[in-house]
Amino acid sequence: MTLFFNQLINGLHVGFIYALIALGYTMVYGIVKLINFAHGDIIMIGAYTAVITLVSLGWSTPLSLLAAIVVCVVFGITIERVAYKPLRSSPRISSLITAIGVSMLLQNTALLVFGAASRPFPTIFNIEPVRFADLQISFVTLLTIVVSIALMVLLQTFVKTSKAGKAMRAVSEDYNTALLMGINVNNTITLTFAIGCALAGIGAYLYIMAYPAISPTMGSLPGLKAFIAAVLGGIGIIPGAMLGGILLGVAESMTKAYISTQLSDAVVYGILIVVLLFKPAGLLGKATREKV
């Protein structure tokens, strides 16, 4: 039973990281109906920023975290303005391909600049794990869970109550009507990207604290998993991203622990396919049909 709970904790740890990254996907998708394939690579950018400022430049931890967030946001906004904005009215397939292109560009440019070899990330908090009887929870796990929950609550409150948050929901509901209602759609979309990328920056920091290896392709796998989490929970829905992320993390951990480590990815994709077949809009999503 201890083993089970330890595995559950492992699953929650990775699940909350997925959830945090998934928020970025889900917000962007909700508002511009675009799978921002490059979101995972924003994490890579954040990770490199963190390691460069912290190790090479010797900045303090809070300062390097801030740097990671700022760089992620700047990249996110630039990408949105340069690559995605001109395509807002084009067919969906064009913007999706562009997003794939941006993702490839970031990865391969990083490969040229930083090389293929992975860089280590130092241990920041050398704090003893928390123990309950036989259970032990490492500080990083605890920190990840607490930070993620706090950020999600904050985000949800922001979207539900603030003026900018309401504008976001309006744009997401109906782009053209929002435009007619005098909402500055461009700014709202930019803000969405900025928030998504800021979360990615924090996510990057939590990610490399757990998996301290930074390489140009490091973002694609968590990015993909987080996207799957977002789809699983119902893309465009903030609580859906959290639910999807946590479910995915736990499912992965349980599959590895009790079914097969080798096939865990296959199982994860399998779950996604099955869920989509029965609930095409995800677990919390509402089915919408095209108006005829």
Binding site: T2, L3, N6, Q7, N10, G11, H13, V14, G115, A116, A117, S118, R119, P120, F121, P122, T123, P129, Q136, S138, V140, A210, Y211, P212, A213, S215, T217, M218, L221, E252, S253, K256, A257, T261, Q262, L263, S264, D265
Partner: protein, 376 residues
């Protein structure tokens, strides 16, 4: 159809002569260097390249081979089989007489498939998978094999009095799987119980689930047949969940030092390597010092040494054969009996070198230390 075949054959002969004549007349001997020089595994290929280039440079300084300068032509495979084949075809047309390469086992097999048809001498400095040389009389290597390493580690572990071991490996990587199989077989013989054998998916970064399962089985040591970056990640995560035991690895984790920030974790690691910079033979010392002079760093990845040796074996064989005839060179390689940087090299029936493995560990600064040597 038949007529055209005859016609094309005729043309081919004419062409063969016209191409081969200038090659004979040239005053350099061309050898090929093929391997992964970019992409995920580039550091291994680049380490090989540095060793090979050094050997070629030194040979040329001593007057070359058969009185001619040696020229090495490099082609990057990016680690893929189709590129290895293209590289081979390209270099063949440029008149190379022997190949050092490839670096990864997969690309080496694709290359061997081609070279075997032509009887082209090929020596890989780093492909440790067993069947690279199987049924291919022209293909040799200057590194030991996965089974040998797996054996050596199991033996050493058992000698240290360890009775319960666990393994974390990657079933989808030939290197990892090969090591695991050999290790397991030897452990069974030696009576070391494998209490947990967990595999992780290729490219996965989260090993905590597997490590938790392993910790739950309470082993005395864990075998990690991984490359450095992954092994570093595993060490960090093992530390996080409080799994504090000895970790054993193979030649793949030779580059782990740069991947770990908390070097103290490395004191728990023991691994097998092809070469130790602490080695006390004259040749090895010379190699280390000239390598340092040339590149301004130590040859920390031992494939630099095996790469040097591969070039050395090939060039010595050309000298011994007295010509650039492929068959003669292959025969000369087979008869090799030289002292090389990584030890004395002779080849067995399977074209593998009969040589020893070095067991190394680290101090808390991440400096490698020689422990012992395991002989075949």
């Amino acid at each position: 159809m038949k007529k055209r075949t005859v016609f094309s054959l005729l043309l081919a002969f004419v062409l063969l002569f016209s191409v081969s004549l200038p090659v004979m007349a040239e005053d350099t001997i061309k050898i090929a260097g093929i391997g992964v020089l970019s992409g995920d595994y580039a550091e291994y290929g680049l380490a090989v390249k540095e060793g090979v280039d050094l050997c070629v440079k030194q040979t040329n300084e001593k007057g070359g081979v058969l009185g001619k300068k040696v020229e090495i032509l490099w082609e990057d495979t990016q680690g893929t089989a189709p590129n290895a084949i293209n590289a081979y075809n390209k270099l063949l047309d440029e008149g190379v007489v022997g190949i050092v390469g490839a670096v990864l086992s997969g690309e080496s097999k694709a290359l061997a498939e081609m070279s075997a048809d032509d009887g082209m001498p090929q020596i890989t400095p780093s492909s440790t998978a067993y069947d690279v040389t199987t049924d291919r009389p022209n293909v040799f290597r200057t590194c030991f094999l996965d089974p040998f390493q797996g054996n050596a580690i199991a033996k050493y572990m058992s000698d240290q009095g360890i009775k319960k071991a666990a393994v974390l490996y990657d079933n989808a990587t030939e290197y990892s799987k090969g090591l695991y199989d050999a290790f397991k077989a030897r452990c069974d013989e030696l009576g070391v119980e494998i209490v947990a054998a967990e595999s992780a998916a290729y490219g996965d970064k989260d090993y905590k689930t597997q490590l938790t399962t392993i910790a739950n089985a309470a082993p005395e040591a864990v075998f990690l047949p991984y490359y450095g970056a992954d092994a570093a990640m595993i060490l960090a995560q093992a530390n996080e969940i409080g799994l504090d035991v000895k970790f054993y690895g193979a030649d793949g984790i030779a580059d782990i030092v740069d991947k770990v920030t908390d070097k103290a974790l490395l004191t728990n690691v023991v691994y097998t390597d092809h070469f130790s910079t602490d080695a006390d033979s004259e040749l090895a010392k010379n190699f280390v010092s000239s390598f340092e002079a040339e590149y301004g760093k130590l040859p920390t990845i031992s494939f630099s040494a095996t790469g040097y040796d591969a070039a050395l074996v090939l060039l010595s064989a050309i000298e011994a054969a007295g010509s650039t005839d492929k068959e003669a060179i292959v025969a000369a390689i087979k008869a090799t009996n030289i002292d090389a940087v990584s030890g004395k090299i002779t080849f067995d029936d399977h074209n593998d070198p009969i040589k020893s493995a070095f067991l190394l560990t680290f101090d808390d600064q991440g400096v490698k230390h020689y422990l012992t040597q395991v002989d075949p």
